[in-house]
Symmetry: C2
Subunit: 432 residues, 2 copies
């Protein structure tokens, strides 16, 4: 890290959290990874054995898209949709299931937004013989039953969140029986379910935390080798950001090259305008979850009580952002931009018309930015090399495409009032 990181705080004492506090939620091996100063941590052989089911993932040059755009730019995309779960999420799901199994964990709890993370962790838990309890954001639970069926096919128990399982969930439902839910609420429920299990269950998070982002860097490490095989090096790398995991997984290895080899690759994070933590949020200490049960971390946040609109990129509906990514944006090492829903779907269809793949709505944010950059190259008649991470396919998101086709998909402006209100609930802490 070229910038210092602020320590995570205990949500009660608001003092730096020690490993013991975190050990109620995570096995010690993952806590040690979270805090490790080592540059390299080896991937264990049992994890590699499973990675081989779909890794290395392909990296394509989008020759047909370049032609369709008439751009001199070269566009490359790394495609994580070939994993069995259809996204990058299994990279960390398998690793987390392995380390938990090794530590004697019998069951995990987690939350899921669009269901990509829940599907991935369900598969990983099945592979390692762990039970799994998934709190799925209500709006996705209702609109994406197929994802739930996948989780159930791998033996997971899936609950819509807010649920009646936890006192916190029951409280949210009492206040609003029709609550759409949010990742923040679902995280709270999953954390509570683990923390109150008397050690029987551990908690697993699909993004945001350092060890999660680190597990994902296998994407960018492969991409570095693949770009070398292609004989080019990217002038810019692009990823979409919800909690930050696919973005960091793809881009951090290129940042490492910038810092150590003198490359000047632009690194661009793309988020939805409806949930714009990096571009409109505050870089401040905040709770990772809505119920203020999770550690307090320094990050770009819209406030842990902020409830984003029910956009179709469910995986990007998180109030905060990975602390490491936040610090790098704050330090000027990474650019951030926000895009609207409708232009994002338009880009996805433009991509599909040339490359065949219908991107997940989350991944479509990266597609939008890549096409925008390629069109700037066309305007300026310059050849640049653009590489982006296509973190998943849209097979479970076709209802969103239908909404787009039938004109039901809205563009949401920056929800300024809701964010301003949420900002008044940031925790008061002594750390800068």
């Amino acid at each position: 890290m070229p910038v210092p990181m602020s320590p995570p705080l205990h949500p009660g004492t608001k003092q730096p959290a020690d490993p013991e506090f975190l050990s109620a939620l995570f096995p010690m091996s993952l806590i040690m990874q979270e805090m490790s100063p080592e540059r390299w941590i080896e991937i264990p052989e049992p994890v590699r054995e499973i990675y081989r089911l779909w890794r290395p993932t392909p990296m394509f040059r989008a020759v047909r898209l370049e032609k369709a755009l008439g751009t001199p730019a070269h566009i490359y995309y790394k495609y994580e949709g070939v994993s069995p779960a259809g996204s990058h999420k299994p990279n960390t799901a398998v690793a987390q299931a392995f380390y938990n199994k090794e530590a004697g964990t019998k069951a995990l709890t987690t939350e899921t937004g669009a269901g990509q993370w829940g599907s991935a962790l369900s598969m990983a838990c099945k592979f390692f013989g762990l039970d799994l309890e998934v709190y799925m954001v209500r709006v996705s639970y209702d609109s994406k039953p197929y994802r739930r069926y996948i989780m159930e096919s791998f033996g997971a128990q899936v609950y819509p969140s807010p649920s009646t399982n936890t006192e916190y969930g029951r409280g949210v439902l009492a206040a609003d029986p029709h609550s759409n839910g949010s990742l923040g609420i679902a995280i709270s429920e999953a954390v509570i379910a683990a923390a109150s299990s008397g050690g029987a269950k551990k908690y697993s998070l699909g993004s945001v935390l350092g060890h999660v982002l680190m597990h994902q860097t296998v994407i960018g490490l492969e991409a570095l080798e693949q770009m070398e095989m292609a004989g080019e090096y990217p002038d810019m790398v692009i990823g979409c950001t919800g909690g930050g995991s696919n973005f960091a997984g793809f881009c951090y290895p290129f940042l490492h090259q910038n810092l150590t080899k003198g490359h000047k690759t632009r690194i661009i994070a793309v988020e939805p305008a409806a949930c714009p933590s990096l571009t409109k949020g505050r870089f401040a200490y905040d709770y990772g979850d809505t119920a203020a049960m999770a550690p307090i971390v320094k990050m770009f946040t819209l406030g842990h009580t902020f409830m984003p609109p029910g956009i179709h990129a469910g995986g990007l509906r998180y109030h905060g952002m990975a602390p490491s990514l936040s610090a790098l944006v704050d330090g000027g090492y990474i650019e951030a931009r926000a895009v609207m829903q409708r232009p994002t779907f338009a880009a996805a269809l433009e991509f599909a018309a040339s490359e065949g793949i219908l991107p997940a709505p989350e991944a479509a944010h990266a597609v939008r930015a890549a096409i925008d950059e390629a069109l700037l190259c066309k305007r300026d008649n310059v050849k640049k090399v653009i590489a982006f991470n296509l973190c998943g396919h849209g097979h479970f998101d076709m209802a969103a495409y239908d909404a787009y086709h039938t004109g039901k998909l809205q563009d949401y402006e920056y929800p300024a009032a809701a964010v301003n209100e949420a900002m008044t609930h940031l925790p008061q802490v002594d750390f800068a």
Copy 2:
């Protein structure tokens, strides 16, 4: 072909169909391929350029499944689910769209069962700038809206079949307003829509015909090279059969090796017990469609008026079978077997628990047979090499998995009475 083929007949005259009759439906280049005695036909460069978006597809050894089964067998699977449409169907869709474009065709019509074929052809038509009209079997149209949204995302017009577009469809609806539809009916509607367009539209079929099967042999040709890389050769190759295209695509190149190189690889076709054309049908001349508009071909058939139960492997709900495959089964070159729905889904889940991929219900038929053969190897303590084609993933079929989990999925016995009745409607022809 080690066995003679009987010529296709004109549905009216019941005499051998000439190219002119077929040219109302297909461009001459595809008709010439259908009738070609050449062993090799080159793949045109514009088709190869698109194949490169996902080909070669991977071939895996299912090491984890072997371990879970405790079998000494080596199990390999060729995975066609990595194509953008999620199945093998784009292999011929792209080729057919190319040859039609080359011939000046502006629009195509087609039918689709589960929607895999329709998705593939929609993508191919988008690539080549052709309009497309899809008749989708009603039961799938209702239960699988996501497939329709994909087709619409690629610009296709999708109608539930029986539809009100054709006089034939209106007749079917008049007799049964709640008709589930069938591939046979949908083919009739698509054929009629093309034949009555005054040359404006051509028709495209996703299976059964010789040129379609030939386009698919890219699968088996790749598999031959991949098995050589693995240093093994299959003792048996397995595929599921609806119209025969994924099966032939994977297995015919191995049959070629049997016939020319003295290999003795067993070649096994697997079909659903609810629609068992190869194992319970008659090898006879029959119409390819329900309305008796399509050419009459000699094939294993359950009768063109047979209406299969609404099983979840929509792609296998066809009354007939590819004429070449039928002749090869009749000649003893290929074995056939039928499996029930519930054991098929059980096999799919067993496969997913080890390999991560949830197979399409169609592909699960091949999985069932591969596991059965692997268990025989275990019983007899012999190491055999089993290779099968996993022709697609089940991302759009999760409702079927849910039906299985919740006990709603039925096993259908052989529908003997319905088949016997349908057999009375076979056409009377002079050709043996």
